[in-house]
């Protein structure tokens, strides 16, 4: 019996090909557009957060108390490397790195600019956040006298690969010390702070330059999956200031929230309109065949089967629409993901807010699953009213009726 119903539903779908096609096109176009937009927005937000984590504080960062206000070498973590080892052994911690930071003046013969030097272990950073992927120009090499510099800072000082710069800062004894560095690489992390004012050197070299020892650091950054870890750390290291990523970068949280709200509203509006579309078509299609249904009922077909048949019809339309929308959407998403949307003409503004000029989208399975659920639901609800119409039918009258 159900096979027959399925067949009839399928056949009916083609009875009014144009109409069905229109609905399918509508679903496909609006769904794919919506997916594209969601992917783009999410991509933008995620990309930014992810890059900020990878290049900056990770999920959790530890500092000596006062350091974040004074930004002075005096406030450094003295036993940083043993803390790092302890943390690395905690379950759930994926990576941890030490960083040494000093503010000072970066100069060339013509210009000088405020900057901070960040000492780091390149290998560790690659494990921590694939730092090498931020390379924009030159090479990732930090041997003696080598430096990697943030893109905007390089622009400010008009630096190129191979340029020589002098960085001056106070060392551990408070004396001003200078070091000559050769620019080996230029990085763009989209972490505004780093891009605008960071020059990276090997942490060992920086220890020698500042007079600090290998045990010390100004920041310990951690990547971990365990959200509870921070509470444990706060108890374990009461002498340190311990902050989560979102505490350090509250604007990111705000952005995430706004994107979520915005995407949900979009989703809701689009799906409601899609519902109205399916509903219209199903309603008319039922009205068109009201005689047919009358006959079916009078020849003994049970209402239940008719209900199933109409449901299948709506479902077919919905699913085919969904499938074409999913395919189209996937194509758009793949394009946005791989090629990105080029907004270079606004690069100043975008980079100011930490976005890249070419925005790459993201693809989440949930886009497809939630849309699927919503379209199925829309198909289902769209037949409720038409069905009521049939239920109220008086077969005899219907058959007699001309229309």
């Amino acid at each position: 019996m159900y096979r027959l119903i399925l067949k009839m539903a399928y056949k009916n779908m083609f009875l009014r090909v144009h109409r069905t096609l229109l609905v399918i096109t509508m679903i496909a176009v609006s769904m794919s557009m919506m997916l594209g937009i969601q992917g783009l927005y999410d991509g933008m937000a995620e990309n930014m957060i992810e890059k900020n984590k990878r290049s900056g504080s990770g999920d959790i960062a530890l500092f000596a108390k006062e350091y974040r206000v004074q930004k002075e070498l005096k406030y450094r973590v003295k036993n940083a490397s043993s803390i790092k080892e302890e943390i690395e052994n905690i379950k759930g911690v994926e990576a941890a790195v030490l960083r040494l930071k000093a503010e000072g003046l970066l100069s060339t013969a013509r210009k000088s600019s405020f900057a901070f030097m960040q000492g780091m272990d390149l290998e560790g950073e690659n494990r921590f956040g694939r730092f090498e992927e931020f390379l924009k120009e030159g090479e990732m090499r930090l041997e003696k006298g080598d430096a990697i510099i943030g893109l905007e800072l390089a622009k400010t000082l008009k630096l190129q690969i191979g340029s020589k710069v002098v960085f001056s800062t106070q060392d551990i004894r408070g004396e001003i010390n200078s070091i000559a560095l050769k620019i080996r690489g230029i990085v763009q992390t989209t972490n505004i702070e780093l891009d605008n004012s960071a020059i990276f050197v090997d942490i060992g070299e920086m220890h020698r330059f500042l007079g600090t020892n290998e045990e010390e650091a100004t920041q310990i950054a951690i990547i971990c999956k365990d959200e509870k870890l921070i509470e444990k750390l706060v108890i374990k290291y009461p002498e340190l200031e311990i902050k989560s990523f979102l505490e350090l970068k509250p604007t990111m949280k705000m952005m995430q929230d706004v994107m979520l709200i915005f995407n949900s509203i979009t989703f809701f509006i689009v799906m409601s309109v899609v519902f109205v579309g399916i509903f219209g078509v199903m309603y008319v299609s039922v009205l068109d065949r009201i005689r047919e249904f009358g006959i079916m009922i009078s020849v003994g077909m049970r209402y239940k089967y008719i209900r199933v048949q109409i449901f299948f019809e709506a479902l077919f339309v919905g699913i085919i629409g969904y499938l074409s929308g999913a395919v189209l959407g996937a194509i758009i998403l793949l394009y946005i993901k791989n090629h990105g949307v080029d907004l270079s003409s606004f690069s100043d503004a975008l980079e100011m807010w930490g976005y890249e000029a070419v925005i790459h989208g993201t693809i989440k399975i949930s886009y497809f699953t939630t849309t699927f659920a919503a379209i199925i639901a829309a198909s289902f609800f769209s037949i409720l009213i038409p069905l009521r119409k049939i239920k109220k039918l008086n077969p005899i009258e219907v058959i007699k009726a001309d229309k």
Binding site: H18, V23, L40, D348
Partner: protein, 406 residues
Amino acid sequence: MFKLALKNTLFYKGRSITTAILTFVSTMLFILFISMQDGSHNSMLENSLKIYTGAIEIYAKGYRDIGGNDYLIEDAKAITDKLSKIDAIEAYSARYETYGLLSNKEYSAASMVAGVEPSKERVLSSLESALREGKFLDEDSKNCIYMGAELASKLKLRIGGEVAFVGGASEGSFAADIFRVCGTFKTGSFEFDSSASFLARSYFDELMYAKNKASYITIKLKNLSDADAVNSQIVKILDDEKLESLTWKTLMKSMVEAMEVDNIFGYISLSLFLVVIFFVIMIYGFINISSRIKEFGVLRSIGLSKRNIFLLLFYEIFILSTLALIVVTPLSAYICYYYSINPIVIEGIADMYKDYGIVSDEIPFDFNPFTIVWNIVVIYILNFISILYPYIYINSFKPIEAIRHV
């Protein structure tokens, strides 16, 4: 033909109502969305203009690029006298900015120290309302310094604390003094709060030999949208090649760009809504027409041309759209107008995000009749386009076929 169209719209109630409602909803959505987007951008702009930057600022050429004492405005009064003649200007003030070293015991920091006219800043900027602790400056507050909260905490200063200042006076000599912290402020911009501090000009000018000199003159307009017009007026009145007068569009280029980007994303989202709604209107139009194939066949066979048919469809959609628009336009215009005067307030946003640069929890709308008109035009065009496919469909039938169509 028009009469026929009218009758048809009355006859096919289902389609008419849906189309009208959809047009209604989409127009409403469209107008309100654009209005809110423009409104929030305006308020974003106004908020940041309020913090410190003026709608228009006048500089000596070279100050913005090179800076320093060589590029000061030497006779600020000559300029402000001219400005007072321009009606569209609400307020103006000459500021004197310098960079110097502030130091408290072993703590020291380079800071932008600006001499301002406190009574005018009350109108021009939101410095006063950004007050955190203590009090704002007034005309004779002597060596009172009004300091960014971040800067104060960096220098370990509290209200009443003393801070030494060393810098260069306007003619190049040393300027040094002890200031007393009278108030701290927090505007939300970390950079500003950690580097800026203010004194009353009356006092600061003596110290810096800066009487009647200015780094620039900042101007507030009665109406921000007049900026370009007023600016060209200023340029004309000043008539001085050594000066440049710039509007906020230049002064805050990256913010203007950011808003453009935001607009683009807004339009992308909006186009999604419009496309979906367009499809639905088209589907309803199509369903309606396909149920009237027979009727159109008859019409054609009694001598109506294709053009007449098109006109008929056109009139129908015209009637429906117009009907919806007549209702929706005043309504949404009123909503825009209402919320432009009484902005939507989302309680708590300002508190939650005050530390991060959002000063206001108001979301005002923008009421601009011109914007509403072009919004309506877009909806009309979309609705007209939506009858194209049904029209092509109906024309694919020969009259005879159509009459027999079931």
